[in-house]
Amino acid sequence: MEKSQTAVNTFVKETGAWIAAQLEACTRCGMCAEACHFYQGTGNPEYAPVWKVELLRRAYEQRFTLSGKFKLALGLEKAVTDADLTHWSEIDYYACTMCNKCSMVCPMGINLGPLIHDVRTGLSNAQAVPADLHAAVEKQEHEGSPLGVTDAVFKQRIEWVADEWEIELPVDVKGADTLVVFSSIEIMKFPTNLAAIAKIMNAAGEKWTISTKGREVVNFGFYEGNEELTVLFASRVFDAAKELGVKRVMVTECGHAYDALRWSAANWMPVPAGIEVTHIAGVLGEFVKSGRIKLKPGAYDNDGTITFHDACKIQRRGSHIQEPRDILNILAPKSFKEMTPNKEQAICCGGGGGVIAIKDADPVRYAAFELKIDQVNQIGAKTVAMACSNCRLQFTDCVQHFNLDWKVAGLAQLVADALVG
């Protein structure tokens, strides 16, 4: 039972008053399940968010409370076993994207997303992580990117993009204002995004650069819950930012990286003072509002209904809810329609949190996406725009899997293609 001991010890060490107060507040009402697209898509009650944190609850009650110790002694509580770790590894990695919709719905206000993350940390320490996810984490550790974007590959891709789209991408420029950090999903799967973003930055007259050392914005350590690697991967970006002396870091179309770098890193590690962390969704809004870039009004008004998919970590957990809408209201004032629910209540695409990297999670990932299909079809949208390339990966894969006729568009791409003047 060594693995389970490690996990429990992790839970014990992590649990302070923040976690304890929330665990104590739970009334087992089960409302969180109603917000979880994995539960809704599959009907498996074990995907209820409250069940996802069960191991953390057991550790807390059995190690920190008198009644828990009492019940454990009497056999009314189950201890955490190695078999439990294997079982919960599936539940917590396959069937959770850390979308935090459950946090919005809990009547007690319990933030289940971060609690599930804390469970992943225990599972990670106990090495109860799905193999393909862990392999990707190790790849990022050793090669700098889960998709194998090494220094050399990076240099090669950048050169190719610059060449192919005839665009300037400044690399390792000291004294630039903004460090743009791409995700390897964009670099490898949606390279047009690199060109699009470069085009926008240049059009806005921004003093920007990308960095070889800080080339990867995704943080697979964050997905796994591996504390050391999370910090390592984040520090690669912060160190590059410091070295280049930039004023701000701009996370491109990636969701969880924004959560990690902007909203969480300060609690893990010393973050460089005076360097702002921003997201392209916010920056686009800023450029449009200030007139630094100009958009062609109604550029996409002839393509059928277009809708916006809110990315969990950029909108619900990131605040950039209004900017994409302002932009789409310019680009497609007649055709832009909202899905229901939307904004901070939006339904997750089902691919984030590392889920799309886990082959065995494919069935539940597709089941969860069925909710999204219903949403899009309900308003008869032909194009779905989004500001996260992991969502884009999920949408693209599911469009193929379900044989849908939608267009999947990145927000930056839409903007870049509609720039005027």
Binding site: T15, G16, A17, W18, A20, A21, Q22, E24, A25, C26, T27, R28, C29, G30, M31, A33, E34, A35, Y39, Q40, G43, P45, E46, A48, V50, W51, F64, T65, S67, L76, S103, M104, V105, C106, P107, M108, G109, I110, N111, P114, R262, W263, S264, A265, A266, N267, Q315, R316, R317, G318, S319, I321, T340, P341, E344, Q345
Partner: protein
């Protein structure tokens, strides 16, 4: 059975002990959690943490209880939402706006307040009882609740239900003598007072912390909690 003596005991020494156990137990639970250590949240806020906390509490008190469809999860499990809400609403009305209970508060706190007429309070009490029954059935039927529910949950339900039902019967002089029902009601209330700090019924105390944490986290991210 001498119900007059039982009543004197249940309203007298037993109540006193139960109340002290309640106070000690809740203090213990609260301090045990709070003293576990709060790491400061060092992330720079974009929005207002305090604002988030305020909105979080306001939503809990004002919007959601009265406008259920604001939460789009309402459609999926209306029972828990409606019955849970109706139960809590009825509970608060009966405990704070019912004259008989207000007099209990008055004797404990030293001051009283205006209350609602009996027939109105009565309807809320009936509603709360019906809601409890619905919640009981839901817990038997809903797959997630079946997974989550153990003996503790059933016990919590029972220990909350008995005071409600005996109180209602008492008010309506149903089937048994008044002293009998009053005794049962007081005994049940005493048991409830003792059980609260030992169970999840204490959630009402931790509610404030979880709601504040939630509001703060979303407020810092400038998103409506």
């Amino acid at each position: 059975m001498n119900w007059e003596n039982t009543l004197e005991f249940a309203r007298g020494p037993f109540f006193q002990v139960a109340l002290l156990v309640f106070v000690a137990g809740m203090a213990y639970r609260l301090v045990r959690v709070l003293a576990l250590g709060w790491q400061p949240d060092r992330v720079q806020a974009k929005g207002s943490r305090i604002g988030g906390v305020a909105v979080s509490f306001l939503k809990g008190i004002i919007i959601w209880p009265f406008i259920p469809w604001v939460k789009n999860t309402f459609n999926r499990n209306p029972i828990t939402y409606l019955a849970g809400g109706l139960f809590h609403l009825g509970l608060f009305v009966v405990i704070f706006l019912g004259t008989a209970h207000m007099l209990v508060w008055k004797s404990l706190l030293g001051f009283g307040w205006l209350t609602l007429p009996l027939p109105i309070v009565d309807w809320f009490a009936a509603g709360a009882i019906v809601a409890m029954i619905a919640l009981f059935i839901n817990r038997l039927v809903n797959p997630v609740l079946k997974l989550l529910t153990g003996p503790a949950e059933w016990l919590n339900w029972l220990i909350v239900f008995v005071p409600m039902v005996t109180g209602y019967m008492m008010t309506h002089h149903l089937w048994f003598q008044y002293e009998t029902l009053f005794s049962l009601h007081m005994l049940a209330v005493d048991v409830l007072l003792i059980w609260i700090p030992l169970s999840r019924i204490s959630h009402f105390m931790f509610y404030f912390f979880a709601k504040a944490i939630h509001g703060s986290d979303f407020g810092k991210r400038a998103v409506t909690p």
